[in-house]
Subunit: 417 residues, 2 copies
């Protein structure tokens, strides 16, 4: 079973916004064994949309379209659906009642004609009810291809994918199994890992594909097995991962399938009943932000002091001026003291501190651009490491966040195993 | 002049990573008058890549490809280039010297064969030198279409776009002018704005396109003018924006072209020599993080206390237990006290505080899921507003961040004008 994902919107083609919808839809469909053939972003042009539909007709089973469903003139997906399916727009009473309730009941505004027009849908479509917004989703089958239209607002799109599309596809279609397993390695580059596992890789069965996903300091190896017999896939994956583990056991740090490092660390802390706080300078609160983006962070994350200015390190964290004068604000000594201080202030088991110069210019410090000190305070120790993450700024910040979480992860695992 | 952007990688098609490269490339090309026709993401399959190249041959001027340039087996773009252009790989000595220097000089590792193979390039290509990584970019012209291959690592891709591709396209191609103007409105929904400006919109000249870009609380109107006479475009845009301003002056808050709210607020603070600190509960440090993601934040941003746990509000911010007991932790009183306290601790002109329940469950609080109090402390006042941002969690956090920055922006502008 194959699908193509289309995103409609000039704002994507001029690079004004990044399309995050396609990845969410792809992940959701992939999880139920639907293969994504292509993702395409096209303009708000009727001709362009019609041409793309015609090209995909009967070449894939599903075409999932986001965008172009709003109430304004530049949103033309609905009219284009009518053209393509030789259909006309009719009022869907259930949608109209929902839109009226949302506008008049929740937003306390008088409903306008443009609002009411949100309830117009092509007569041949199955309406996918959007409980979290005004634009309904639409499902229309033509010959061997189903065309599904979804609003472009991410949480509305997500609601419809999770509550309408996935259940409907699962009910109505036979699909193969796709199983992904990810092996997280740490400490060696992509090329080195590739050389070490070359023979193993060449011996993988044809239904298992390997991909390398490098990121700061680590390489994720993703095995994807596809087939009709789930047990065979699982057995083959298990055996191959076992033999892989025998070859690169020294650099494997985890077998979590899809989880980000912050989720893995959050789970570890929760499982072991440990708490965390952070004192962040060059990372500017990003460690706190990525941890608290996931629900449940309150069980282990107590808080952070983002001491961006030197004065904040002195006034809020209580770092001594003499220490800063002696070692400079970007130093191992200050990082360690920040970690110890925040751990005490927030009364946590662990504390992470960062101080560095993310660039592009030297700013208040004398440290080289890209230099970052990361400190990890534990109940009985404080560990400081120095890094140079180079440039640009975003890379320095992101690597510092990842490296901090890795240091914490290693520390927790060391004490547990 | 038209371009298509292709992203190669199974990890994109299964939704494991979001493609941010295409938006960057699109924005860069758009800024020099190159129109992006489509963005396409396809799998690491030679057949799929060759078919896509053949379809685009002579239909667009540029095809920009990212991904598939790494040193491992799943990276096949280079070999596929040789197939498509009937070419062979040869060693580029300049690239080899650079890779050797990077691996042996900077990373202090012994160079491997896989590393050396990074210097193999199709003989017909113009090499685009990648100063920040090991994989070179490649530029090959076939008939009327140039195919450009770039590494998928974002900062390497960015380096090559900015330093190699844009200058080369500017030198070698005639292009029309594209001018975008963005008008930021605040306080009315997309449908209402559309109704108010309908007549104006219908009278726009055919070479000016209008797009609505709604986000939390605000609607960005984007006018895009395209043509060969820059003066005519600028004059028409100016006149139309003037007449638009006459119609919806009450809701227009800015005319910044591309800037995000955090950049606008950062500039305002810098211009007026004012400083800011934040005390964040439900936003978990995200206000600090978005502000410090941009270079130059240190001139106005002093720091933040992320008081995620109630204990951190008491111990670090010094909020009284009695106040929390009386009003609950999610309350106007606590938000106001947090703002006043952090302003004092960080010695800043302004301070923002957030407390709320981002959901999905009630957690430590009794407040409804989605409820957020935002407080803004100024040198002589404290303003608190209550919101309900609904669900999901990510929407609550993002809206609270935007709303906080909007409150601050309004306050600064009020005192200045």
């Amino acid at each position: 079973m194959k699908a193509t994902i289309i995103t409609i919107g000039d704002e994507i083609l001029i690079g004004q916004i990044v399309d995050t919808n396609s990845a969410f839809i792809a992940k959701s469909l992939d999880s139920i064994g639907v293969e994504i053939n292509e993702m395409i972003s096209i303009s708000d042009s009727k001709e362009h949309i019609l041409n793309t539909f015609a090209q995909l007709q009967n070449t894939v089973d599903l075409v999932v379209i986001t965008g172009g469903l709003g109430p304004t003139k530049d949103d033309i997906t609905k009219k284009t659906f009518c053209d393509y399916f030789q259909d006309e727009l009719v009022v869907d009473q259930k949608v109209l009642a929902h839109v009226t309730q949302l506008i008049e009941g929740f937003y306390k505004r008088t409903i306008t004609q443009i609002n009411k027009d949100q309830a117009l849908v092509p007569s041949k479509c199955t309406v996918l009810h959007n409980q979290v917004g005004t634009a309904p989703g639409m499902w229309v089958k033509k010959e061997n291809t189903v065309f599904i239209s979804l609003p472009g607002v991410p949480y509305e799109m997500k609601y419809l994918v999770e509550n309408e599309i996935i259940p409907k596809v699962v009910r109505e279609y036979q699909r193969p199994y796709i199983i992904h397993k990810t092996i997280l390695t740490y400490g060696q580059g992509e090329s080195l890992v590739a050389e070490r596992i070359e023979t193993w890789e060449n011996n993988l069965p044809p239904f298992i594909k390997l991909a390398y996903l490098p990121s700061a300091g680590s390489v994720r190896l993703r095995l994807s097995a596809r087939g009709t017999d789930k047990q065979v896939l699982e057995k083959e994956l298990e055996q191959n991962i076992k033999s892989l583990d025998a070859i690169i056991h020294d650099i494997i740090v985890g077998f979590d399938q899809e989880e980000t490092l912050e989720v893995v660390v959050g789970k570890l802390l929760t499982q072991h009943g440990k708490t965390l706080s952070t004192a962040e300078s060059c990372t500017g609160g990003k460690i706190a932000q990525v941890l608290t983006a996931a629900a449940g962070a309150s069980s282990y994350f107590k808080g952070s002091v983002v001491s961006y200015a030197t004065a904040a390190k002195i006034d809020v964290l209580g770092i001594s001026e003499a220490l800063i004068a002696e070692h400079s604000v970007v130093s191992a000594a200050v990082a360690a003291d920040m970690a110890l201080s925040i751990r005490k202030m927030m009364k946590t088991d662990y504390a992470i501190a960062t101080t560095g110069n993310a660039g592009p210019s030297k700013g208040e410090t004398t440290a080289d651009v890209g230099t970052v000190f990361i400190a990890l305070a534990t109940p009985n120790s404080v560990l400081v490491e120095e890094f140079n993450f180079g440039q640009p700024r975003e890379k320095v910040i992101d690597r510092a966040v990842i490296k901090s979480l890795e240091m914490l992860q290693k520390e927790i695992l060391k004490n547990v195993v």
